[in-house]
């Protein structure tokens, strides 16, 4: 990044008792970025956020905020605000009091007029100007979430931390709030660092995503980088549900790698970073996205895979087919848009045999040692 980073973590380590929650984390976030920490439960996302927010202290390493070392500062001396997972609205204050709280504290007391104005602005921004007098318990989940946003934003922090800000909302609301969150970020230009375990959310919102695994950052990059070039099968599987198929490595010609599946089908693909050391005969894994399979024929230079349909799931706009590959045990999922199918009039039914085509760029070859 060219811009000077607003938040940096350098070799940060954090343990709870004998358990090391974070191993040597390094992270740089540029001003104005929207970065997401993504990973399964217990991988250390919240811990990372809490270290930056100041609610925990790092055992080792350095955390800087806009260039100054804040590793040992308490939360109330950091120019950062947090939107908590369950919002942590003060139940004994009205919406306006909640939002204004950060402007009444001794360290940052503002004159009443300024405070009122800023509270009003913040509430207007999140569309809750008319709810100022309500108590938090009188609001719906989505409204609470927005109050929490307003409360953090009214302080005009350099960085906004969000710990699973949408996870308590139901699907429809979550999708709507994702869009709002994105617009808010675009409008304000504040740096957002968000935690989520929902890959869809991460893909939609972020400039960059850091995929974490067991207290380490497995890969960091833009959504399309992660989707198109996942560094490991773990990342491939975590972002966008890849199909992972065991294979035997045959060799490479040009940039086309060739592998053999259980039923001896030969498939062409591209080697991922971690597969550079593969030698012919080694065990490998290929990853293919559900939507990259073609049911209408085999593309030029592509491979054909034979499978049996075991189930057909109707998703409205598209079908999801569950297949079993010849000679394999684990099922495979592919997605086909409904309109194309309907046009043909051919919806593959359970029991049908089917031939799938995949182009080499859609097949990523990995070494098999990684657990998926």
């Amino acid at each position: 990044m060219a811009v000077q980073p607003i938040v940096t973590l350098e070799n940060v380590v954090k343990s709870y008792g004998t358990f090391t929650a974070l191993h040597n984390i390094n992270l740089e976030i540029a001003a104005g970025e929207f970065v997401t920490l993504l990973g399964p439960s217990g991988c250390g996302k919240t811990t990372t956020l809490r270290l930056i927010g100041g609610f925990e202290t790092a055992d080792e390493g350095r955390i800087t905020l806009a260039g100054s070392d804040v590793t040992q500062e308490p939360p109330y001396r950091r120019d950062i605000n947090t939107v908590f997972q369950d919002y942590a609205l003060f139940p004994h204050m009205t919406v306006a009091e909640n939002v204004g709280y950060g402007l009444t504290v001794r360290a940052n007391r503002r004159p009443k007029e300024e405070r009122d104005r800023r509270v009003r602005e913040a509430l207007t921004m999140v569309g809750l100007a008319d709810k100022a007098g309500r108590m938090p318990q009188q609001l719906s989940g989505g409204q609470r979430q927005r109050v929490a946003m307003a409360r953090a934003l009214v302080r005009q922090p350099k960085v906004l931390l969000l710990d699973e800000p949408l996870s308590a909302l139901d699907v429809k609301l979550r999708e709507a709030m994702q869009v709002e969150l994105k617009h808010l970020h675009q409008k304000l230009g504040i740096t957002f660092l968000m935690v989520t375990h929902d890959q869809q959310e991460a893909l939609v919102l972020s400039n960059r995503i850091a995929v974490m695994k067991g207290g380490r950052i497995a890969q960091i990059g833009s959504p399309s980088e992660l989707y198109d070039k996942p560094a490991t099968p773990y990342v491939a599987n975590f972002i966008g549900a890849a199909n992972l198929i065991a294979c035997t490595y045959l060799g490479e010609e040009g940039n086309i790698a060739r592998v053999k599946l259980a039923d001896d089908t030969v498939v062409s693909g591209h080697r991922a970073e971690n597969a550079k050391a593969l030698k012919p005969g080694d065990a490998c894994l290929i990853a293919i996205r559900p939507e990259r399979f073609q049911t209408s024929g085999v593309p030029d230079g592509g491979s054909a895979i034979n499978a049996t349909v075991t189930d057909q799931l109707f998703h409205g706009g598209r079908f999801q087919l569950e297949l079993v590959l010849d000679g394999a045990a684990a099922p495979l999922f592919i997605e086909i848009p409904r309109n194309s199918v309907v046009a043909d009039g051919t919806v593959p039914q359970p029991g049908n045999r089917i031939t799938l085509g995949v182009a080499p760029p859609d097949v990523l070859v990995y070494a098999a040692e990684e657990d998926a």
């Binding site: 609610f55 003060f90 004994h92 709280y101 001794r106 360290a107 318990q137």
Partner: protein, 289 residues
């Protein structure tokens, strides 16, 4: 059987015994007491009647209002001191003790005395506060005083100390529960918004624990208001409390109608306190979501 009928039968099977019991042994006795408060004294006993003389006497004879006021004063002091000591203790247990196990253990230590014979706990203070007691001997030994002091025992201060001692656990329990229920995220949110620890305490923790304080204060106030052991054991000549007077109306004075009237007054007072605390408590609870 129709579903409705089945419900009704089930309900009465369960509920008839408790209802009968409550009516016979709780509502009727309180009712009877209310009735008797209108009876009149007729030496040496009393006769059924309907007149307001007993209440009148309670209101015009200054000895009763004096005792009621004194009792109110003592109960209030006990409540205030119990909060003053109980709150820091509860706070300490919840926020300072990090280890879950130690916290539970200490909490138990606070709660357990509550159930250890009330009488004995009151009585121990007599041993401690006496002219020849533990406190004086300790002070003598430390050289703070030359002669034992007799200011500790047999006065209202002794009663307040004893009752405070007895009721602190009552205070700690609900405050502890209230503090424990405060989500740590709220405290973090406050700090996150720039408030230091003291400001966070004043503006977040304290308001959110009022329900606990109210619950504890109500209990402490009501029970110390009706206490009749402390005056006997550690109270001095001016230590008469309402319960002592009540007791003597049913004892020595043998004026049950007057006693009943006094009991009705206490009953009403307690109901008022409970009602007020219920209001406050509900406000607190609403604010906890």
């Amino acid at each position: 059987m129709k579903a409705k009928t089945r419900q009704t039968v089930g309900f009465w099977l369960l509920f008839s015994l408790p209802l009968a019991w409550v009516v016979i042994f709780l509502i009727l006795p309180y009712g009877a007491m209310g009735m008797m408060s209108f009876w009149s004294r007729k030496f040496p006993l009393f006769v059924a009647d309907f007149q307001f003389g007993n209440y009148l006497q309670l209101f015009i004879d200054p000895q009763y209002s004096a005792v009621i006021l004194r009792t109110l004063k003592i109960a209030s002091l006990v409540t205030v001191y119990s909060v003053a000591f109980g709150y820091p203790l509860a706070y300490f247990l919840v926020f300072t003790i990090r280890s879950e196990k130690l916290r539970t253990l200490l909490y138990m230590c606070v709660v357990v005395p509550l159930w250890v014979s009330y009488l004995l706990r009151a009585y121990t203070w007599k041993i401690i506060l006496g002219t020849d007691g533990a406190l004086n001997s300790a002070l003598l030994w430390l050289g703070v005083i030359k002669e034992p002091l007799d200011i500790f025992l047999y006065n209202q201060a002794a009663m307040v100390i004893t009752l405070t001692y007895i009721f602190i656990p009552f205070m700690v329990m609900p405050i502890f529960t209230a503090l424990e229920r405060i989500p740590p995220a709220l405290i973090e949110a406050s700090q996150d918004l720039g408030a230091g620890p003291f400001e966070t305490f004043l503006r977040v923790i304290l308001p959110l624990s009022t329900a606990g304080i109210v619950a504890g204060a109500t209990m402490t106030f009501c029970l110390s208001f009706g206490d009749f052991v402390a005056p006997v054991l550690v109270g001095g000549p001016s230590g008469t409390m309402v319960a002592t007077v009540l007791q003597s109306q049913f004892g020595a004075a043998l004026n049950w109608p007057l006693g009943s009237a006094l009991a009705v007054v206490i009953f009403t007072l307690v109901l008022v306190v409970l009602q007020v605390s219920n209001r406050l408590d509900r406000a607190g609870r609403v604010s906890m979501g």
